[in-house]
């Protein structure tokens, strides 16, 4: 089933001067699979997402998206090719309406910047996928609200909706559950289950209960390197992981 690998990172390395933030991390994201990356703060999880999405350049290694080598591609080009990401801190457009946040994201696929005489809100392709994405994220009732004024949990949902509006094949989600209440967490996990069949999903998350419930694969990072990888049961019982990470609290 090698064909189902949608995103492949090989020996990904990022150095900041003398500090190696991410050291030779290889990772494969498959369709129909939620691949969680866990680790302590500063383990390099967010940096890994930034490297895979192209927000910061690699020091070493390569990234392959849908079978193509995209190592030299800019972030916007990778995004248009089907790589969607959400951010750990909300990076929405706070002064726009919820709908316009989604519509603008959807527009990325149908930019037509030269068509200056056409009203953006008449472009049915982007308005339709914006509505669809907002619906899937459970934001139907908030479409006309100003994005900066909705609750924190709703902003997290909007993050995902904007990501979905671009119709990505691969989703890199950076702590989508951060600061969410129990009910919102349930809804988000249900949505991940719904998205799973058609997407390859990388999930960086600190909520361990959620991770062990939803993930098919778990990678554990410490100090920029991978120390363990396997299915949830394997990770739960791995003595190395217990010492390095899970055991911290005991």
């Amino acid at each position: 089933m090698a064909n189902d690998v949608l995103l492949r990172g090989k020996d990904i390395t990022r150095r900041w001067g003398g500090l190696v933030a991410v050291n030779k991390v290889s990772i494969e994201l498959e369709r129909n699979c939620v691949h969680a990356v866990i680790g302590t703060n500063g383990a390099g999880k967010s940096t890994l997402i930034n490297l895979l999405s192209g927000e910061i350049p690699l020091s070493d290694g390569s990234v392959e998206l849908l079978g193509k080598d995209v190592t030299g591609w800019t972030q916007p080009k990778r995004a248009r090719a089907g790589l969607g990401r959400s951010y750990q801190r909300n990076t929405i457009f706070p002064s726009f309406s919820v709908f316009e946040n989604c519509r603008l994201a959807a527009q990325a696929k149908h930019q037509k910047g030269w068509a200056w005489w056409e009203r953006a809100d008449r472009c049915s392709v982007s308005t339709d996928s914006a509505r669809d994405a907002a619906h899937r994220a459970g934001l139907d009732k908030l479409m006309d609200r100003t994005a900066g004024m909705i609750s924190h949990g709703q902003k997290r949902q909007l993050e995902i909706a904007m990501c979905l509006a671009t119709d990505p094949k691969v989703l890199l989600l950076d702590e989508p559950l951060a600061g969410m209440g129990a009910e919102e967490t349930e809804r988000m996990l249900a949505m991940l289950d719904e998205l799973r069949p058609d997407h390859a999903i990388l999930l960086v998350e600190h909520d361990m209960d959620a991770v062990f419930r939803v993930a098919n694969q778990i990678t554990v990072m410490v100090n920029g390197t991978v120390i363990a990888r396997g299915d949830p049961d394997f990770i739960r019982n791995s003595p190395e992981v217990r010492v390095a990470y899970l055991g911290e609290g005991h």
Partner: protein
Amino acid sequence: MDKSKGIFVALVFMALALYPFVGGGGYGIDIVTKIMIYAILALSLELLVGTTGLVCFGQAAFFGIGAYAAVLFSGEQGAASILWLLPASMLAAAVYALAVGALSLRTRGVYFIMVTLAFAQMAYFVVHDTPLGGGTDGIYLYFRPTLGEKLKFDEPLVMYLFSLGTLVFVFGFLTVLLNSRFGRALAGIRVNEQRMRGTGFTTYPYKLAAFVISGGLAGLGGALFAIKDGFVNPELMSWHLSGAALMMIILGGLGHLRGALIGAFAFLLLQEFFKAEAIFGEFAKHWHLGMGIVIIAAVAVLPRGLVGLPEVLRKRLAGSGGGESRIGGLKSAQGGAK
């Protein structure tokens, strides 16, 4: 809400169209023509600053290049047709904007401000210190252009109405542009460029296109200015004018096209007021002082510019209505901190 803004702008343009016929004297027509031309400059800058979030401190260079181009292209042989003179002047300014934008857009924030200023100063000293544009003395326009047989731009009324028509055209063009996908993308870049890139927008070409369009429109204003005055000098490219254009859009209210319109009128009418010897006598030559105080006061009282005036008044009348939303915003910020 949107409707009332549209009606406001339509009323302003109608009032401007009627003004020469209901008592606008020669002096008044001259001043209002000048203001309308500066309003075009302010609108061009609004596209960069208020819409895209690029604070350009060299807009006068494009205005000045448009003005010089109009004079140089007119030649000394006879009247040119305005139908090609204006587009040619716009093109000259747009070409310069393309070069400046291509380089300066590689920088951000305060560096962008400084680099655009540096390029404008460069253009200023090229005309100031070379014989190309007559040096510090500037050059005269020998023949004002014409439009067909009948419309001659020597007549103040023709100049007035043509400037108004151009202003309406620029305002309408920018209104359509800002509602298009291109315009929405520019707004997205202003609010959150990082997210725009993450979503799939290569932002550099968008910013460069905005820069070139803005330069071309400023050049259009400059060309009209040269035709109106019949004279150009390097001061048209000085940083004072770049600064004045910024003050116009800040005074009027950033992020709104009508803000640029209102700001240009407010700024230049205030200037006329403080320069008036009939009112201030000897003190009129210190008009900068009065302007400065009024602008500082306006920014302090109206942080969103004159455009925000109705809202400020409404809140004053309704009491402390603004308090609740502020608390709501705090709550969500605390939620984010957890």
